[in-house]
Amino acid sequence: MKEQTYSKTELMICVAARLFEDGATCFIGTGIPMLAAMLASHTTAPNLVPVFEFGGTGAILEELPRAVGEARTWHKGISALGICDTMENAQRGFIDYGFLGGAQIDPYGNLNSITIGDHDHPKARLPGSGGGNDVGSLCWQTVAIMQHDARRFVPTVDCVTTPGFLSGPGARETAGLPKGTGPVYVVSTLALMDYDPATCRMRLKATHPGVSVDEVLASTGFELLLPARVEVNAPPSAEELRLLREEIDTEKLYI
């Protein structure tokens, strides 16, 4: 196999795509999650059931959606209903995975997309909770997809927009969130993280090819747990890159 060059974003999309479980319902947020879902549906998860916020379920992802309500989110789909159908499906336990982004993440997987700085006098006003909080509250498992640097991987997020494990073990249940839900993975531009079951804290699982553990730790603003053995993610395959470049992001919106 000839070696190929690829961008950090392309690698992140590929690593995220490989996490999709075939035949699972997945709530897909705007942006990178859309590319990852589409790549997965063309590779390892052909029976993936994409769910988009404003009502589209079971679309065949032939063209990349650029908005969570556009027709591509229910193209040849199973149903095109409304946001209540989607959100209530999640609340009723029908959505297996949620794929999300955020501006900040903390060791417990809590995400911030409201403000940087004080809420009422922010340094930066971010888009807001959107469907993120609902996804993080109601889907069974959530996967965050993030740029990796110390400004984003922070000890404490300025706002807990989307619940991860909140303050740690048991906190979700105490707050009243549905039993058995929570974050499972973080895919970043540097690595794949999971969570330590005992402490609910983020743990390095696998570095991206060419990235050292030290680089990951240095780019993380909190103590990242280390497992006994850190794996290394496989680089994008030629086929993954071809799909991404020639069939998925043909307009070069992301890659």
Binding site: T30, G31, E53, F54, G55, G56, R66, A67, V68, G69, E70, A71, R72, T73, W74, H75, K76, A80, L81, G82, I83, C84, M87, A90, Q91, N110, I114, H119, H121, P122, K123, A124, R125, L126, P127, G128, S129, G130, G131, G132, N133, D134, S137, L138, C159, V160, T161, T162, P163, L166, A171, R172, T174, A175, G176, L177, P178, E251, L253, Y254
Partner: protein
């Protein structure tokens, strides 16, 4: 009812269900021709300080022509229930927004909204009360159902709840914690549909977003439609009526009314048109120039249609979703 937690956000639009009932009682149930120009509709039903919402996104089945008319008429001090892309960006850039019940305002694939950042960080928008998309929709649904609140298991334990006006209580049947979302009654709502008759009976193709809920949660409802159809067509397919006429105050004929956004099965997104706003909105001056070019310098949607031109619309039509 013991309150376990109260969000600290302001209840931007206080509600009284009996007052909403009394309002609805006065709305006519007669079949009256409500077709009017967009200027008249906005002039009549949208006013300074009113609480207003638009349905779906600036890039998807969004009442963009009505949203532009709101800017053109320089309606001030709007309180907005905010989930949007281009439409709310225009209002923010034009300085029309005083308070936001915000869930998401951004440019989707193009990132954070510059207009939102400027408007909030400068203090021009006085309040942001936070909600999730689900929560804001359920608030509309509560009003649509005629009940004072709906419970949810979303938002619990987060700052989204802490900065909202929701309350957490224990479910009296099982003791489980739930967040109660107060009903949200809008003073005015703008919804764009595929087809309407002159009385306001509306049909939509594809996803229905939160049109059914918002239509029922609003005191005044302005509908814009790609096409005005005979009532006979409504009566032939009453199972397609998403919004019945008695909810509607004005019907505006607006072909390409969602441009530069899409309208499923009719036309696709105008990507260059969307990118133009993304680029120009990076600075306040750029945004102002955009508003001049596409709103202030034009009399209305007819002139907008002429400015965009048939060629560009034709390309959007080619890109439409098809039933296959």
């Amino acid at each position: 009812m013991e309150i376990l937690q109260s969000g600290t956000g302001e209840l931007t639009q206080p509600f009284d269900l009996d007052e909403f009932r009394a309002w609805n009682r006065k709305k006519s149930r007669k079949l009256v021709d409500k077709v009017m120009p967009e200027a008249e509709a906005i002039g009549k039903f949208v006013y300074d300080g009113c609480y207003i919402g638009t349905e779906l996104y600036g890039t998807v089945r969004c009442p963009m022509s009505l949203a532009r008319e709101v800017v053109r008429q320089r309606v001030k001090d709007l309180r907005v229930c905010g989930q949007g892309v281009l439409e709310l960006d225009l209002w923010l850039a034009a300085g029309l927004v005083k308070k936001l019940d915000i869930t998401y305002i951004g440019l989707e694939v193009y990132g954070t909204s510059y207009a939102l950042r400027r408007a909030v960080e400068s203090g021009q928008v006085e309040k942001c009360v936070e909600w999730s998309n689900g929560a804001i929709t359920w608030r509309l649904k509560a009003a649509a159902m005629g009940v004072p609140f709906l419970p949810t298991r979303s938002m619990l334990g987060t700052d989204t709840l802490a900065y909202s006006a929701a309350k957490v209580v224990a479910d009296p049947f099982t003791g489980a914690k739930v967040a109660l979302l107060p009903a949200l009654v809008l003073d005015a709502a703008l919804i764009h549909v595929h087809r309407a008759d002159k009385y306001g009976n509306c049909q939509v193709d594809g996803i229905t977003g939160f049109a059914a809920e918002m239509a029922r949660a609003s005191k005044r409802l302005i509908v814009s439609a790609e096409e005005i159809i005979p009532t006979q067509e409504i009566r032939k397919y009453p199972d397609r009526t998403l919004i019945p006429y008695y909810l509607v105050d004005a019907v505006v004929h607006a072909p390409y009314g969602s441009h530069p956004g899409e309208m499923a099965y009719l036309y696709g997104r105008d990507e260059p048109g969307i990118k133009e706003w993304v680029e120009m909105s990076k600075t306040a001056e750029g945004a102002q120039a955009y508003l001049d070019k596409y709103i202030y310098n034009l009399q209305g949607h007819d002139e907008y249609l002429a400015l965009i031109g048939e060629d560009r619309f034709g390309r959007c039509v080619e890109l439409r979703e098809k039933r296959e």
